[in-house]
Symmetry: C2
Subunit: 217 residues, 2 copies
Amino acid sequence: MARISESTVRRLSHYYRVLAEVEAEGRRMISSHRLAEREGITSAQVRKDLSCFGSFGRRGLGYNVQHLRGEIRSILGLDRRWRVLLVGAGHIGSALLAYRGFAAQGFDIVAVYDRDPSRIGQKNAGLVVQDIADLPRAGAQGAEVGVIATPIKSAQEVADALVAAGVRGILNFAPRKLFVPAHVALRTVDMTMEFESLSFELHQARAPRRRRAPSGG
Amino acid sequence: MARISESTVRRLSHYYRVLAEVEAEGRRMISSHRLAEREGITSAQVRKDLSCFGSFGRRGLGYNVQHLRGEIRSILGLDRRWRVLLVGAGHIGSALLAYRGFAAQGFDIVAVYDRDPSRIGQKNAGLVVQDIADLPRAGAQGAEVGVIATPIKSAQEVADALVAAGVRGILNFAPRKLFVPAHVALRTVDMTMEFESLSFELHQARAPRRRRAPSGG
């Protein structure tokens, strides 16, 4: 199988959701046209993407919904579970522990770490918060994914500790760029950036002719 | 003030966080070089960005941390609060209600809606979940932002209802593209996509030479 681009993966992710919807509606077949809809994708692109993984469609009939969904599920690795170490038991960490959709996506949080003495030893969603200083000693304990939900200033240090402990993937919720070795997969969910960007646009729309006088610093 | 691009806003968002860090360290001045670090931004870009909002820096001395932070805070509209209607009291909605960082960014959830009869009338984080069917009647009640945390198939319908109710901004957590009028600001946080993309990369790394036989479908 050729190297699959990040944008192809994102489209597969999209197809997977459309297929889930269509399957819930009880439909058996789907056209490449329907799979393309909504995201500004052409049906030719759909056929091209899917042909990378074997020719699932039949000319004039389209794709079998259940079969294609199973195939994409397997391609994306959604048919298996990942053991996750969560670092940071603050706002985002607690919300992630409460977020059952995280488990629904195959991510099982098996341990929680923090550096704040007032949090260490407390129970959060059934897990006792452990001291981050113990992470190097404990190792990844079979966990393949680390989730970083710490303040930005600790994020790189935590990433280094997770990599040293042996995780192969990191999901970063701290709003900064992180550096990890090439063999470690890194994805960032920057909610703060989206919130601030929305706040900016609302604010500007409200005061469109607002001007700032130059002010020496 | 000239139209500010989305990427400039994202950089301002970055500078804002660096300034918060540096202020916490007790430093009074900061160079454009230090503001640029980590994100692959040049110091010339920093000076250009900040000059759009008035010349805050002094040659050879840099920028006053507290002053610049206050200015960016005000430019991004982070010095004010937004009233928020949350639609969807499922996994993501509940996590958002539990996420205190949302309020820390100036977003106050004032009402929660859902369509599921088993959720309507229940209390969630101090708010009684209301029937989404009542949203058009209630209107936005002074709320400027709507947050969509529903399944993808309801998301567009909910967006339309929020726009009709009078919100000016939408924060969308449903993993699909939404269409809103030009006067409404829209930002999407697609966690599902990041999770699936990470899952894919881990999965491929584990089975790098995995091949799929063509399968007629």
